[in-house]
């Protein structure tokens, strides 16, 4: 069987299911008044009576009843969704008319206020600070409200010569790559060294500049290094051929790095 043979007998509709669908979609039957539970019960009764389950028809029914439920729930929901419900042209016009009349009412009231403000504009109010004698505590009945210790503390604070400001954190620009290159070459001259030894207790920017300098040495073929595993100690040494050369190393050229910190 197909759904068109599903006969319904509801409060607001009596007839085949597919006719109900058509009427709902044409808005000739108000979906809000259709008891969808009754439709479902009618369908189940129908299944019971026929004694067989047509899968295709059942699927179609589920899809349709779900669509109807969604449509109905949207109609029932207040708020923004209501705007999406299409009013019939008559209703829409009435709603719009009411709003326009309301707006017109307050436009007239606005004209009245505007005129009223104009009439009143000749009445000016005084706006001046209070005379000085009213701005102070009267001397006659002045009572001690302040602690003289406040003044002593303030003057004590002012007599304190502030310690020289620690500006080390903003003098980092004085660390140059050239300087760090000299430092590393000195260490290299004495043999191998670890990167940690090269740094000592340097600050972050010095560490970074030292690293640039080391990469520069590698690029120039003056140094090579060994690191056994990530984050392990880096041992820096002269490359095996150890020519004091200006040639570029063939293997694994170090990336060219432009050093922004006054390498020049």
């Amino acid at each position: 069987m197909t759904l068109q043979y599903l006969e319904l007998d509801l409060d607001v509709f009596a007839g085949p299911f597919d006719l109900l669908l058509t009427l709902v979609l044409r808005e000739e039957v108000d979906l809000l008044e259709v008891d969808l539970a009754e439709v479902v019960i009618a369908y189940i009764d129908h299944l019971d009576a026929s004694g067989e389950l047509d899968l295709e028809a059942a699927t179609e029914f589920l899809v349709l009843i779900a669509a109807l439920l969604e449509l109905k729930s949207r109609l029932l929901l207040p708020g923004e969704e209501i705007d999406e419900v299409e009013l019939d042209p008559g209703e829409a016009a009435e709603e719009l008319l009411a709003r326009l009349l309301d707006a017109q009412r307050y436009r007239s009231a606005a004209a009245h206020l505007h005129a009223r403000l104009g009439e009143e504009s000749g009445y000016r109010f005084r706006s001046a600070p209070l005379p000085p004698q009213l701005r102070r505590a009267p001397e006659r009945d002045a009572v001690a409200v302040y602690d003289p210790g406040l003044l002593a503390a303030a003057i004590g604070h002012l007599t304190t010569i502030p310690p020289p400001v620690d500006v080390r954190h903003i003098t980092v620009a004085t660390v140059t790559v050239a300087e760090r290159l000299r430092h590393l070459r000195r260490l290299l001259a004495a043999g191998r060294f670890t990167f940690a030894e090269a740094l000592g207790r340097a600050d972050r920017v010095t560490i970074a500049v030292t690293l640039y300098a080391l990469l520069e040495l590698h690029k120039q073929g003056e140094a090579t290094w060994v690191q056994d595993e990530p984050f392990a100690e880096i041992t820096v040494s002269r490359p095996p051929e150890a020519e004091p050369a200006l040639r570029a190393p063939e293997a694994e050229p170090a990336p060219a790095i432009r050093v922004p910190v006054s390498a020049a």
């Binding site: 042209p89 016009a93 606005a110 009245h112 009143e120 504009s121 000016r124 009213l134």
Partner: protein
Amino acid sequence: MIAELPRTLEALLFLSADPVPVAALAQAAEAEADEVRAALQELVQHYERDGHGLVLRELAGGWALSSHPDAEPAARALLAKPRTPPLTAAQAETLAIVAYLQPVSRPEIARIRGVSAESAVGTLLERGLIEESGRSPFGAALYRTSTLFLALFGLRELGELPDVAGFDPSPEFEHELRERLLRAGEARGGIAGSSNGHG
């Protein structure tokens, strides 16, 4: 000759930037409210009789001195600005909606005006004509008119605003609007019909 109480009240109102309620005047001048009211009436009459350049009026829940409108051209020449800049149409409409429907939220104002009320509400707040007055159940700020509004519009209280029903559009206006809407609706229906035909 002016009596002591009205003379004191004159000085108090001269010094006060805002309208002062009778109770506050009575307390400051150490007099009864009735005496204060009588003294204020005496001052009002004196100003009128002698033709002073000042006007004493009951405004915004209190009493306030102001300059006489006759002196406005000279005041404008001396002070080089109007007392209150005029309102734009949008500001006046928004103010009217707040005045009559207060407390009212911004979305409600926008719904009635049919356009956003952001800028007008902001300006009216800035000029101190309206002020916040709590929140709606949905969390929107609600607005009401301020005491300054009453003072600048020469009102003793909100009740002095004319009945809003007086601003109802005329039946002719409504009829004409309805006609226009119906014609517009038919035109739209025709377009919808033809586009359906194509679809």
